[in-house]
């Protein structure tokens, strides 16, 4: 097996007294789409900047494509593309001119530049506005132009910082389709986001950031199983029974949340609806409804950060 595309060990960044990123370990293999999740200010962007060598880490080491981004930044940046949070272009120039400029900075052979730009623009469906000023582009179009820049440069690793923030649902879908197409072409992608549905649908693995540390790293399924304390949420409505008191009999049940008078939310590791129905009738209660659904990523996500907060409160 070849070495990982990105390998960070004990990555730390301090600004004065505050530690923004605190000992992050991260390994990304070729062809993966890894989501960096976490609330704003959790250290995602700083981690990204250290990975591509735009910020120097205070401690720890990074290797990208088996190169050191601090010692050999040009070689790294030739193969790594970065799409910053709400990317900016020169408004007075056309989309084509903007890309030509970065193509020249990237040292692409002059005879190839225009062909590569047009192919990239077709890929992101912007070829019809190539000669319009970027000032007239919508937000979604700018993000797509950013992706076109990455496609044009034919990079191996793309780092996207909040690519879908501020986009309407349709533009978001278009962007996700493009990202999937990039991955299908063999590009490795790192995507930072606080929008979970985005990550859920395209990422092979996620890393959860909290206060500068990675709290969880693994696949989306593993995350929902591990963190949600069971992958099933069952909505129970019943009368003449206190479910919180007697549900412990069923071993698969994790937590019970008394929502209102005759309404409970039960978490369990598997579908326990038959056991619940039997138990309620045996205890003389009236079962009104039972609804089960798998915990979504955003529920698991909220729960993850809620748990951390609660632990801190207790301490």
């Amino acid at each position: 097996m070849s070495r990982p595309v990105v390998e960070a060990v004990g990555l730390t960044k301090r600004y004065g007294a505050s530690t923004v990123v605190d000992g992050v370990n991260l390994a990304v293999d070729e062809g993966e789409i890894v989501g960096l999740l976490g609330p704003n200010g959790a250290g995602k962007t700083t981690t990204i900047l250290m990975l591509i060598g735009l910020t120097e880490p205070s401690a720890g080491s990074v290797r990208v494509l088996d190169l050191d981004p601090l010692r050999d930044p040009l070689a790294v940046k030739t193969q790594v593309g970065y799409l910053p949070d709400s990317v900016g272009f020169y408004d007075g120039m056309t989309g084509l001119e903007n890309l030509r400029y970065t193509a020249r900075l990237g040292g692409i052979d002059v005879s190839e530049i225009d062909d590569r730009i047009m192919t990239a623009l077709q890929q992101v469906h912007l070829d019809h506005v190539a000669n319009k000023r970027v000032g007239t582009y919508s937000r979604g179009m700018r993000q797509r132009l950013g992706l076109a820049e990455l496609a044009m440069r034919q990079i191996r690793l793309a780092v996207l910082d909040e690519p879908t923030s501020g986009l309407d649902p349709r533009s978001t879908d278009e962007l996700l389709d493009l990202i999937r197409a990039f991955a299908a072409d063999g590009m490795t992608l790192l995507i930072s986001s606080h929008m979970l549905d985005v990550v859920q649908s395209i990422c092979t693995r996620v890393a959860l950031f909290n206060k500068g540390k990675i709290g969880f790293m693994g696949s989306v399924e593993k995350f929902t199983n591990d963190v949600a304390g069971g992958s099933f949420q069952i909505d129970v409505a019943a009368r003449k029974i206190d479910l919180s008191a007697c549900v412990d009999i069923i071993p698969a049940v994790g937590a019970v949340d008394h929502r209102d008078k005759e309404h409970w939310m039960v978490s369990a590791t598997h579908d326990v609806r038959p056991e619940l129905a039997r138990m309620i009738t045996e205890h003389g209660g009236d079962l009104l409804s039972l609804q089960a659904h798998r915990a979504s990523l955003s529920e698991a996500y909220n729960r993850f950060f809620l748990d951390i907060e609660q632990k801190e409160m207790q301490q």
């Binding site: 962007t45 700083t46 900047l49 591509i52 735009l54 910020t55 601090l70 010692r71 050999d72 930044p73 040009l74 070689a75 940046k77 030739t78 790594v80 593309g81 970065y82 799409l83 910053p84 709400s86 990317v87 900016g88 272009f89 020169y90 408004d91 007075g92 400029y101 970065t102 020249r104 900075l105 990237g106 040292g107 950013g146 820049e149």
Partner: protein, 317 residues
């Protein structure tokens, strides 16, 4: 830590892009228009003055740049006053403008070093300034030939070219100053105001302040005449902090071949001198070289300031 790759990768691309941007920007057109109009006005007035007064002059051509007809100042003092404005207009939002347009992180993620961005921006600005100055210079020479009806002599051209080079260094100081402010402040409006304040202080108020400062630093003792000289030296040293003063002295020395010195002269030093006779071009350049070197040093100093502050800046705004 040794880093691989040249810090100059991409400098040419950035410089050319910056130059193209400046050439097409409305800001540059407006100020260039202002400079051109005042320059033509000043030279036109000078021509009228020359025609009525000096018929006999070995360096008639250079008079175009230095002769003033009230109420207009001379061409060279106009340039000393207005060219900084042009340079500031080109540089005040060079770096913080990229941050506020959110293009900086994208550009820095390209396979170039950070050094290239600042070098490129400075070179691009300097290139545009050079083009503007050469155009202006040729225009003035052309006007002179047209209205005076005589071609410039070899010495005229030599002095004029050195003056052109000195002017480029002078505008370079202001470009580097504006660039430094654009890295030190986050908002383009703030850096523009800061650069303009420095410009006002050095081009207008500095000459009024230095005599006051000098009289405080080295007061005159009425029983010791040498203290008078000491005060004059202090005043001159203080005045020369301003690039506008250095440039003014340079222009006088280069464009007026009869001027002998930029400092005080004693009667004894004048013994045997042919007052009013021109100095050879090389001698004038030798006298004024410290001023020109001062302008170059000022430019490099301001650029270094901008460079250090830019290199230390975080990419995240």
């Amino acid at each position: 830590m040794k880093r691989k790759g040249s810090p100059l990768t991409g400098v040419a691309s950035i410089a050319l892009k910056e130059a193209a941007d400046h050439m097409t920007s409305a800001r540059m057109h407006l100020i260039m228009m202002l400079v051109l109009l005042t320059a033509i006005g000043a030279v036109y007035a000078a021509i009228g003055q020359i025609k009525t007064t000096t018929a006999q002059d070995a360096f008639l051509f250079l008079k175009l740049f230095t002769v003033a007809k009230a109420p207009l100042p001379s061409f060279s003092s106009f340039m000393g006053f207005l060219l900084p404005l042009l340079a500031i207009a080109l540089g005040f939002d060079a770096v913080n403008g990229e941050f506020s347009r959110r293009t900086m992180s994208r550009i820095l993620a390209q396979p170039i070093y950070r050094d290239a961005v600042l070098f490129g921006k400075f070179l691009g600005g300097l290139m545009v300034l050079a083009i503007a100055l050469v155009t202006l210079w040729l225009l003035m020479v052309g006007l002179g030939i047209l209205f005076l009806g005589l071609p410039p002599s070899g010495a005229d051209v030599a002095r004029g070219l050195v003056y052109l080079a000195a002017t480029l260094f002078y505008t370079g100081v202001w470009l580097a100053l504006a660039l430094a402010f654009s890295t030190l402040t986050r908002s383009p409006a703030t850096s523009a105001l800061a650069a303009l304040s420095v410009w006002l202080i050095f081009t207008i108020f500095w000459q009024m302040i230095t005599p006051l400062l000098a009289s405080v630093i080295s007061p005159i003792n009425p029983y010791d005449p040498m203290t008078m000289l000491a005060q004059f030296h202090t005043q001159q040293a203080l005045a020369r902090i301003s690039p506008a003063i250095l440039y003014g002295e340079t222009a006088t020395m280069l464009l007026d071949p009869t001027s002998r010195s930029v400092g005080p002269i004693f009667m004894s030093q004048l013994q045997g001198a042919l007052i009013g006779s021109p100095l050879p071009t090389m001698q004038s350049i030798k006298i004024i070289w410290p001023q020109i070197a001062g302008l170059i040093a000022g430019m490099l100093f301001m650029f270094t300031l901008a460079y250090v502050s830019f290199q230390r800046q975080e990419v995240r705004s």
